[in-house]
């Protein structure tokens, strides 16, 4: 819990990232930034999927639709927040000359996407439509 609080404090205190270590080659920082943007696009795609489930599947029962949409939206939010966190951690690791942080998040995200996809298949096969 303390670690989470510490990294959240780091998000809001930008100058503290620059206080330690040496500034890495600007190309590494830019590559890190592009990775961050790729994750933000992933988050936006998940959120767009959440909107799309709600808007373009009006025949689904409300509970199924809301459940799928909320799952996608929650994944999008997690993805966006994690993008910032991972970016800060990578930036700090590069400044300190440490190894880049490893992460379980890609696996978790793929599992969530797989679960949503299976749920969609089940919904389509069994036709859980409202009345």
């Amino acid at each position: 819990m303390n670690k989470i609080a510490q990294s959240v404090r780091l998000w809001f205190a930008p100058q503290r990232v620059r206080e330690e270590g040496n500034t890495p080659d600007y190309r590494f920082s830019l590559a890190n930034e592009r990775t961050f943007l790729a994750w933000v696009r992933t988050a936006l795609a998940l959120i767009g999927g959440g909107f799309a489930v709600d808007q373009f599947l009006p025949d689904l029962a409300w509970g199924v639709r809301a459940g799928l949409a909320l799952g996608l939206l929650a994944a999008g939010v997690l993805c966006a927040l994690r993008a910032v966190n991972h970016w800060v951690r990578c930036e700090r690791a590069m400044r300190r000359g440490e190894d880049l942080p490893v992460s379980r998040f890609p696996t978790l995200l793929s599992l969530v996407v797989a679960v949503v996809a299976v749920a969609m298949v089940v919904v389509v096969l069994f036709g859980w439509e409202s009345g």
Binding site: A38, A43, I47, F51, L73, V84
Partner: protein
């Protein structure tokens, strides 16, 4: 700013295009949000939702624009954490509106 110090890998340009792609994704999501809000007519609540979605989208555009301008030099400085956080929070805000409009 001479051609000699310019990175042959075009990293600043690639990063600028990555920002462009990301703003396009954000635009699509914002449009979906507006479509969702106006689905049940232009009620006061719907207009508030449209305004908030537009605000989140504009926040994203502002961060992207400032960053794209900063990337116009040969050796651009690293992204400021505040910019990264603002972009992520605008994304989260759009998700929050989507969740709110489900009910």
């Amino acid at each position: 700013m001479t051609a000699a110090v310019r990175d042959p890998g075009l990293q600043p340009e690639r990063t600028r295009l990555a920002w462009r792609r990301t703003t396009l994704s954000a635009t699509v999501v914002a449009l979906l949000a507006v479509r969702q809000a106006l689905h049940s007519g232009a009620t006061p609540g719907a207009l508030v939702a449209v305004a908030l979605s537009t605000l989140a989208w504009l926040g994203f555009l502002l961060v992207a624009h400032r960053r794209v301008v900063a990337l116009g030099t040969a050796r651009p400085p690293a992204l400021a954490p505040r910019g990264a956080l603002t972009a992520a929070l605008c994304t989260v805000a759009l998700a929050a509106f989507a969740a709110a409009m489900l009910f």
